[in-house]
C-alpha cells in the first residue's frame, strides 16, 4: 500500500512540477504577482511529494517487500540495514528518484530562502527548476519506475552488488547528486537572466552561494568516490580516468571556473555572457554525464543496467534543456552589456586565465572520454586512450593554472602589478626550491617531474600564506594590529585561502604517487615482508562469518624497529549469493604515508599472496580535497550571503568590511 502511495506521490509531483513550470512563467511575463507566487508553493509541495515517494521506496527496501521488482532485484534479507537503505540508490531507478529528490531539496531551499529576490526573477528561476523536474519525473515514470510490482513475489531478493556494500559508497551518491543537481540552480538563474535580459552584480551575488554549495558537495562526492576506489579495488590506484569518473569531473572543472568568473561579475560587473554560458555548460555536463552513464554508449567499470530506450529519453531531455538554453543564449546574450574594462595583467586577467585553462582542461577530458564515440562515427583509425592520453594532455595543462593560483590573488583589480606580485612572493620561491631539494635528497633523485610537482605544491601553498600575511600586514604593523586585521578579514577571503591551500596539499599528494613502494609476496603463517623500513609479520588467516558473506581474515603485525605499530586485518569477502569475492584492504595511515595491505588468493596449503604498498603522502590527496570543500563552506558562511543581510550590510559596510576582501 505504501509503495502505491509513493507511486501516486510521484505522479502528483509530476503534475505539480508542470504547474510550477508554467504558471509562474506566465505570471512573470504578465506581471501578475499572485501567479508568480505560485512558484514557491508549488516548489514546496513538489518537494514534499517527492520526499514521500523517496520514503515509500526506502520503506519497501527496509521491510524487504520483494513484491516490488526493484527491491527484489537489488536487496536481500541478510543485508545490513545501512546497505538496505543505500541500496535504494545503488541501482538505476532508485538513483533517479534520489536525483529528483535532491532537485526538490534545491527548489524548496530556493523557495524558502529567496525572500530578497525580485519576485519576477524568483518566479522564473523556480519555473525553470520546475521544467527540469518535469523532465526527470517523466523519465522515471515512463522508463524507470521503481514502484512496479511482481506477483508472486520471489522468496528473497537478488542482493546488492558486493562492491557497493561499503560505507564510502553508501554516502558517495547523495553528495555527488547534490553537486550535480545543485548546479541546476545556477542554470535556472542563467536561463531566467537570459529571459529578463539583465545580469548585474546582484544577480551574481544570488547565484554564487548556490553554485558554491553545489561545488562543495561535488568536491566531497568525487573525493569519496576516489577514496572508495583506492581502498576497495585493492591495487592502490585512486583515479582511473574511467568514463564515469570523468562524467563527474567535467562538471567539477567547469563549476570551478564558474565560481571564479561569477566573482568578476559580482565585483566588476563584466564577463557576464561568459559566466552565463559557464552556468549553462556546468549543468549541461551534469546532464551529459547522466546520459553517458545511463545509456551505455561508453563502456565503463561502473556500468549501470542500460537500456537504449532510456538513452533516447535522456537524449531528448538533453536536447530540450541544453538546446533550449543555448538557443536562448544565442539570441539574448549579445544584448548583455559588459561593464568594467580591465588590463590583461589584473585580478580579472588572472581569473580569465583560470577560466581558460579550466575550460581547456574540461575540453580535454571531454574529448578523451567521448573519443570512441566520435571515431566510430567518422570511421577513423582505431586509437586507444586511457591513462597515457590524460597524463600527457590534462596534467601539463594544469601546471600553469596551479602556478597562477599562487599569483592571481595578489594582483589588484583593473590593473595589476605582476612584477611587484612576483617580488612579494619571494618566500614562495624559497619554499619551492627547498621542497625540490628535500624531495630530491629524500628520494635519491626520483622522477624529475614528481620532484618538480613538490616544488609546485610548495610554491602554491607558500604563496597562499604570503597573500594572507599580506592582507593582515604581518610583521609590517604591530602583532596586535595584525591579529585584529586577521579577525576582521571577510570569511570569503579565508575560504579562498583554505581552498587554494587545499589544492597545494592535493598536488603534493598526486606528485608523491611516483614514489610508491610495493612488495608482493607469497606468504604463510610466520612469513615476514620488509617494506620502507617496516616489517610485516603475516600471522595467518582465519575464516570469519559476516552478515551476508564469509571472510578470510588475515592478521598482519606491523613492526618498526622491532616495536609493534599496529595489527591489521585485510580480508577477502566471499558473497555466496552473487558468487563474488571482494577485497577489504587494511590501511594503516599516519597522515604522512599509508601502509596498504591487501590479501590475494590463497591455496589449501595455507600460502597466500600478500600485496603491500607504502604510499607516501597519499592521504594528502583527500585531505586537500576536504580543505577545498571546507574553504567553499567557509566562504559560504560569509556574512555577505546571509539572508536579508544585504540591506543591513550596505548601511554598515564602511566600518566592518575592510577593503582587503574586495
Amino acid at each position: 500500500m505504501i509503495t502505491e502511495l509513493g507511486h501516486f506521490a510521484l505522479i502528483l509531483a509530476l503534475c505539480v512540477a508542470v504547474v510550477q513550470a508554467v504558471v509562474p512563467l506566465v505570471g512573470a511575463a504578465r506581471g501578475n504577482l499572485a501567479w508568480m507566487e505560485v512558484a514557491r508553493t508549488a516548489a514546496l509541495v513538489q518537494f514534499a511529494l517527492v520526499a514521500m515517494a523517496m520514503a515509500a521506496l526506502m520503506h519497501a527496501y527496509v521491510t524487504n517487500d520483494f513484491s516490488v521488482i526493484n527491491v527484489a532485484e537489488n536487496s536481500h534479507t541478510d543485508k545490513p540495514l545501512l546497505y538496505q537503505i543505500s541500496g535504494v540508490w545503488g541501482n538505476h531507478e532508485g538513483s533517479m528518484v534520489l536525483w529528483v529528490f535532491m532537485l526538490g531539496v534545491c527548489s524548496a531551499a530556493l523557495a524558502l530562502f529567496s525572500g530578497n529576490l525580485p519576485p519576477a526573477l524568483r518566479a522564473r528561476v523556480l519555473a525553470v527548476q520546475g521544467m527540469i523536474a518535469t523532465g526527470f519525473l517523466l523519465f522515471i515514470l515512463l522508463t524507470s519506475n521503481p514502484f512496479l510490482r511482481t506477483w508472486p513475489p520471489p522468496p528473497n531478493g537478488r542482493g546488492l552488488n558486493p562492491v557497493l556494500q561499503d560505507p564510502g559508497l553508501a554516502f558517495h551518491p547523495p553528495f555527488l547528486y547534490l553537486g550535480y543537481v545543485g548546479f541546476s540552480v545556477g542554470f535556472a538563474f542563467a536561463v531566467a537572466a537570459l529571459i529578463e535580459g539583465r545580469v548585474d552584480a546582484a544577480w551574481a551575488r544570488w547565484v554564487r552561494p548556490w553554485t558554491l554549495a553545489s561545488w562543495c558537495a561535488l568536491t566531497i562526492g568525487i573525493a569519496m568516490g576516489s577514496w572508495w576506489a583506492y581502498y576497495t579495488l585493492g591495487w592502490g590506484g585512486w583515479w582511473f580516468w574511467d568514463p564515469v569518473e570523468n562524467a563527474s569531473f567535467m562538471p567539477w572543472l567547469v563549476g570551478t571556473a564558474l565560481i571564479h568568473s561569477s566573482i568578476v561579475v559580482e565585483k566588476r560587473n563584466t564577463m557576464k555572457s561568459w559566466t552565463i554560458l559557464l552556468a549553462i555548460i556546468t549543468f549541461s555536463l551534469s546532464l551529459v554525464g547522466t546520459f553517458l552513464v545511463r545509456s551505455g554508449v561508453l563502456t565503463s567499470v561502473h556500468a549501470f543496467a542500460t537500456d537504449p530506450e532510456r538513452g533516447a529519453f535522456i537524449l531528448l531531455l538533453l536536447a530540450v534543456a541544453i538546446g533550449g538554453s543555448l538557443t536562448l543564449y544565442a539570441f539574448r546574450a549579445p544584448a548583455l552589456k559588459g561593464g568594467g574594462l580591465f588590463a590583461p595583467i589584473s585580478r580579472e586577467g588572472a581569473l580569465v586565465l583560470n577560466n581558460l585553462i579550466l575550460s581547456c582542461g574540461c575540453a580535454t577530458v571531454f574529448l578523451g572520454t567521448l573519443y570512441p564515440l566520435f571515431l566510430d562515427a567518422v570511421g577513423g583509425p582505431k586509437l586507444s586512450v586511457g591513462f597515457p592520453f590524460f597524463n600527457r594532455t590534462f596534467v601539463p595543462l594544469m601546471v600553469p593554472m596551479i602556478l597562477a593560483v599562487g599569483i592571481g590573488p595578489l594582483l589588484s583589480w583593473k590593473r595589476g602589478d605582476l612584477l611587484g606580485a612576483l617580488q612579494r612572493v619571494w618566500a614562495a620561491y624559497a619554499a619551492a626550491v627547498v621542497a625540490i631539494l628535500v624531495a630530491f635528497y629524500v628520494t635519491h633523485g626520483g622522477p624529475i617531474l614528481a620532484v618538480l610537482g613538490f616544488g609546485l605544491a610548495a610554491w602554491t601553498g607558500m604563496a597562499v600564506l604570503v597573500e594572507w600575511a599580506d592582507r593582515i600586514k604581518l610583521f609590517r604593523v604591530g602583532f596586535a594590529d595584525s591579529l585584529r586585521r586577521a579577525m576582521h578579514l571577510p570569511r570569503a577571503a579565508y575560504g579562498m585561502s583554505f581552498a587554494h591551500f587545499g589544492l597545494a596539499v592535493s598536488v603534493a599528494g598526486f606528485s608523491a604517487s611516483a614514489f610508491d613502494v610495493e612488495a608482493i609476496d607469497t606468504v604463510h603463517a610466520g612469513s615476514v615482508v620488509q617494506i620502507a623500513g617496516y616489517e610485516l609479520r603475516f600471522a595467518g588467516v582465519a575464516r570469519v562469518p559476516g552478515p551476508n558473506y564469509t571472510a578470510d581474515q588475515a592478521s598482519v603485525e606491523i613492526r618498526r624497529d622491532g616495536a609493534l605499530v599496529a595489527l591489521v586485518h585485510p580480508e577477502r569477502r566471499f558473497f555466496p549469493l552473487q558468487q563474488q569475492t571482494t577485497a577489504m584492504t587494511a590501511i594503516r595511515t599516519n597522515f604522512l604515508s599509508d601502509l596498504y595491505v591487501a590479501l590475494g588468493d590463497g591455496d589449501e596449503a595455507g600460502n597466500w599472496t600478500l600485496r603491500v604498498y607504502w604510499k607516501p603522502l597519499v592521504p594528502w590527496i583527500w585531505i586537500g580535497a576536504m580543505f577545498m570543500a571546507f574553504g567553499g563552506m567557509v566562504s559560504l558562511s560569509d556574512r555577505r550571503w546571509r539572508v536579508g543581510v544585504g540591506a543591513r550590510a550596505r548601511r554598515m559596510a564602511p566600518a566592518l568590511q575592510p577593503a582587503a576582501g574586495e
Binding site: V301, A330, P334, L373, K382
Partner: protein
Amino acid sequence: MRRALYLLPLLLFLVLGGFFARSLRPDYDPHVLPSAMIDREAPQFDLAGLKDEGLARDALKGGPVLINFFASWCVPCRVEHPLLMALANREHVPLYGIDYKDQPEDAAKLLAQFGDPYRRVGLDRDGRVGLDFGVYGVPETYVLDSDGHIRKRFVGPLTAEQVDKELLPLLKALRKS
C-alpha cells in the same frame, strides 16, 4: 559577426547531439563492434616476448587460440583479469596476450601481482600490431581458428555471460571442425 559567435555553443551542441543520437541506434553496441577483419587472415606479426619467447602469428596456427590485447594502465583489463585466469586454469583455453602500448616492466608487475593467464605475451610497444588488428581500445579479445583466420572479436572486458554463451561454444565448434 559578433552575434555569430554566440551561436557557436549551440552549433557545437547540435553536432554533439548528432553523435549521441547516432550512438543510440539499436545496432550500436560498444561491446560488439563490427570488424572488417572477421573471417580474414589475422595480420602478420612477430613480436618480442615479455619473458623469453616471442609471439608470432604463424606460430599460433594449428588450433583455435585466443589473443587478448591488454595493458597495465587499463582499468577494464583488471576487471577482466579474474575471468581470464579462470579461462586459462579451468577451461585450459590457449590464451595469448599482446601487451599494448605499455612498458614491459609494468606489464610484468601486473602479471606477477594478479597471476599470468597467458601462455606467452608479445610486446606491442608502439601499438602497430593493434593498429593492424583494428584494436579500438584495450581490452579486446580475438578468436583465431587453426588456419589463423579471425573468427570473432570481443571489445571491452569479457563477461562471464559472453564466455559461457559465445566464447566456449565457438571454441568447441572450432575444435571439432
